[in-house]
Symmetry: C2
Subunit: 207 residues, 2 copies
Amino acid sequence: MSDAREGAPRKRGRPARTDAGDGPGARERILTAARAEFAEHGYDKASIRGIAKGAGVDPALVHHYFGPKEKIFGAAVEVDFASALQAQETVTSGGLETVGERLTRYILGVWEAPVTREPLLAIVRSAVANETAAAVFRDLVTVRLMARVAGELDVPAPRLRSELAAAQLVGIALLRHVIKVEPLASADIEQVIAMVAPVVQRHLTEG
Amino acid sequence: MSDAREGAPRKRGRPARTDAGDGPGARERILTAARAEFAEHGYDKASIRGIAKGAGVDPALVHHYFGPKEKIFGAAVEVDFASALQAQETVTSGGLETVGERLTRYILGVWEAPVTREPLLAIVRSAVANETAAAVFRDLVTVRLMARVAGELDVPAPRLRSELAAAQLVGIALLRHVIKVEPLASADIEQVIAMVAPVVQRHLTEG
C-alpha cells in the first residue's frame, strides 16, 4: 500500500510528525474511521475532514497516507476483502460437493454481525450511488472474489455462474439488512441458509 | 390519491390556475419528472424545485398535488408498481409449473429497457441510501408484489420463499445494471434467463 502516497497532494507538505494522533496505529485508525464515515454518510457525503476527526488525526495526515477520497475508499474496502479472501480460501478448499453451503454460510454470516455488516453497508450504499465507488467494488468483487471461486469450478461459464450465485447472496443481504423486507429480515439465519445453500450449490456445480 | 393533498403546505395558498403548465396532464408530467429527478439525484438530493422545473410547472403545484417529497416519491414508485402489478397477474395466472421462467423473464425484462430501468434505478438508489425511501419500497414490494406471488404458492413458508426468489432477481439486476460486474453485465439476457429460471422455480415450488 506504500504506493498509495502517489496520489497525495504535496502543496501543504508533509504533515508535522508532532500532529496529535500520528505514530504507530494511526494508519489503522484512519482506515477504521474511514469505514465508519463511508458507512454513515455514503461515498458522496463522506469527507476527509470527517475521517480525520474520527481517527483523531490531522486531515493532512489522511491525505498523506492515502491520497484523495477515492483511494481512501479503495484501501478501506480492500482491507475488508483481504480478510474475506482468507475466509474464501477456506470456502473453496473444502471440496466442491459442499461449496454452496460453505459459501452461503460465509457470505450471509459476515452480514449478520454488525461489526462486519457496517463496512459492507458502506460499500453497497457507496457503490449504488457513485460510479467511482462502483468501479472500486466491481474490480474487487470480480478480480479478488468471484474469479477465485470460478477458478475452482469444472462447468461451462464458470464466471457467469459464480456471479449468479453472488447475486443470490447479495440480493438476500440487500432485502434482509438494507430494505428490511419481512419475513426475510427477521427469519432465522439457519433457516435461510438451509433454503439458499442448495440454490447456490446448483449455480456453481449443476445443470 | 386525493388525500395526498393533506400533506401539502397551505401558507402560499392554492397555486394560481394560470401558472404555466397547469391543466390536464400536469399531474402526469410531474410524476414523470419526479421519476427522472429521483433517478438522477437519488432521494436525498432530489428537490421539489428540480421536479417542478422538469415538469414545467410552479413548485407550489407539485406541493399542491402531492405534498412533501416523501409522498411524491411514494406516488412515483406506486405508478411503477401499479403497472408491474398488471404484469404480475399475467405472471401468476399461467400455472405454477412455469412460474419461475415467467417471473424471471418479467423482472429481468423490465430492467433491460432503459425506459423502465431508470425508475427502478431511482428506487434502488433512494432506498439504499434513505430510510424513508426504503420504507416506501419495502411496503410496496411486500404488500403489492411478493405477497401476491406468495398467495399462489402451495408450499411451506411461501412468503419467505417468494422473497428469496426476489432476492435472486434483485441481486442480478444490481450486479448487471448498477455495479456492472462482468461477464454478467454483458451476458446475453436469454442465457441469463435460462440459467436463473430453474433456480427461481425451485424457490417458489420445490424442496
